[in-house]
Structures are given as structure tokens and as C-alpha cells.
Symmetry: C2
């Protein structure tokens, strides 16, 4: 089992899932490396339909990716920062250029378009405060059309789960 998930880009299309799909999905959210055989034992179906249902959820983009989740505190990325950004101008091109520059910054592991005072929320991981300062001053602040930036530091992780359905 080695292939990457390929996302079909019919953006935002709802996919109908029955109870068995949801059971399978929950198991995969908890443990992406569970075997099809184990799923089939728990869901009371043989392996073939499990296979087909997983393949369908991969192809329709319900399953975006299988990922190993890393404890950043243990691998020299101890600092997580929530970063709010507003742009000076809000035309389409300005936004697109900012997004493009964000996609190229490996420190930024999440970015959302948000409502309210700011335009974007970023989740940034860095080795330490010096590294974050460098990112802030030399990378993020160099993005053209940047307005205001506000940084909020994560002091502790209370909860991080994937099971959402």
C-alpha cells in the first residue's frame, strides 16, 4: 500500500457516505496504518468492499491524505505560533500573490482565510524564538502588500484529534 491520495478537484462537492463509510473513516482517522483486514473484522464486511469504499473516499477527496503526525516539541520545532495577517489591498491579484508566497514558506504549516479584522490566520512552527523572529522579519514581513501582523504564541497543546465525524 503505497500510493499517494489523489484529490479530485471538484472543490467542496459534498460526498454521500453511509454508516459503514463513516465507521471506516473513523478507524482510518485514528490509525491510518490499520489493515483492511482489521477494518473488515470491526465493520463486519469482507475485505473487497472495504477496499472499494476506501478507494472511493480517496478519489472523491474525502480522504485528503494519510499523514504521520509529529510531536513538534520532540524534534527541535518546539515553538508553535498562531499568526494573524492583514493585507493593505484586497483585490484578487494582491491576495493571490500573498497566498503564493505563503505556500512557499515551509515554516507555515496551515493557512486559512478568515472573517474579521484580519485576512489570514497562519500556523507557524519554528525551532525557537530566534528562528521565529527571523521568519517574521525576513520572510513574512517581506511579502508584498502586507498590512498588519499579530503573533500569538502557543504555550501548550491541550487537544489535537482527527476524529471529526
Amino acid at each position: 500500500m503505497a500510493k499517494q491520495v489523489k484529490k479530485e478537484d471538484s472543490a467542496g462537492t459534498q460526498v454521500m457516505l453511509d454508516d459503514k463509510d463513516l465507521s471506516i473513516l473513523r478507524l482510518l482517522q485514528q490509525n491510518a496504518r490499520i489493515t483492511v483486514k482489521e477494518i473488515s473484522d470491526k465493520v463486519h464486511l469482507s475485505t473487497t468492499p472495504i477496499h472499494e469504499r476506501i478507494r472511493r473516499m480517496e478519489e472523491t477527496g474525502v480522504i485528503r491524505q494519510y499523514a504521520a503526525l509529529v510531536d513538534h516539541a520532540r524534534v527541535k520545532k518546539g515553538l508553535t505560533v498562531i499568526c494573524y495577517v492583514s493585507l493593505k489591498q484586497h483585490n484578487r491579484n494582491a491576495g493571490a500573490r500573498f497566498i503564493k508566497s505563503i505556500l512557499d514558506m515551509p515554516e507555515v504549516i496551515e493557512c486559512y482565510n478568515i472573517s474579521g479584522e484580519f485576512d489570514f490566520m497562519l500556523k507557524v512552527v519554528a525551532e525557537n524564538m530566534d528562528a521565529y523572529y527571523d521568519f517574521h522579519v525576513n520572510k513574512l514581513s517581506q511579502a508584498e502588500n502586507l498590512g498588519h501582523v499579530q503573533s500569538i504564541f502557543v504555550m501548550g497543546v491541550i487537544k489535537q484529534v482527527q476524529v471529526s465525524i
Copy 2:
């Protein structure tokens, strides 16, 4: 390959990883279902050491979990909300009770202790605005010792990656 990752709870202990470990980790962050054989081809080692290195990273808590990442927009959880919460009192017991109640709310998929004006940041997924309103009024706001709540709505996902090292 079916076992869950077991986290050793020597909280926050740094784990030393060499370049080969990091290569393996990057591959697993991109695709948790990659085969050991494929990793061994890319990292130029045979399967045995790959196995041992992965097992070590699982046992030391570097790899927290293998997870299928779901596109919430496609599975009737179209609304993501960033939610800031402050408490009235900041003693240890009050915080612990709030955390306990958060851990019991399936709508809350992430929760962080943060610096600044608010005490916690939550990421909440809901089916729609009605469902979020219900969560806000009937669940979150019922938590004892709750001060202020501010909701920021996610209008679009720009980036969500796992590769952080």
C-alpha cells in the same frame, strides 16, 4: 501493520534524529501508508533498519499518530471556526476543569493554551451555522468559569501540510 502508536509520556523530551530519520519522517508525514520497502529504496537502506528507526520514533513519541486527514467540506462538516476563550479565574483547578470539559466535546478538534488576551484557542468543526450556534450556546458557554468567547470563521483553507521538519 496495524498497531496504534503508543506515546511514551516523558513530556517534551527532545529526541535525537539523524538525517536518515528525518528523511523517513518526511516521507511518512507526506504519506503514512508508504511501504517500508519504498522508503528503503528512497533512503538507500534495507528494510530492517527502516523498521527499527520507525519503531523508535513511534516509541519515543516523535510520531504521535498515523491519521487519515479528512476534507471536512465534503463530509457535512463544512464549517470550521477558530474560537478564543478566556476564563474568569486562573487558578489551577479552574483551568483543569475547563480542559476536561473541552476534551469531552467532539466538535473541538484542536485546543491550545495561548499567550495574550485570551487563554485558549479552539478549532471547532460543525455541520453548519445552526450546529455551531448550538455548540456555542449549549455546550461551550455552559462550561463553568467561562469568561469571554470570540469566534472567527474560516472562509477558506489555503494550506494544510504536515511536513514540518
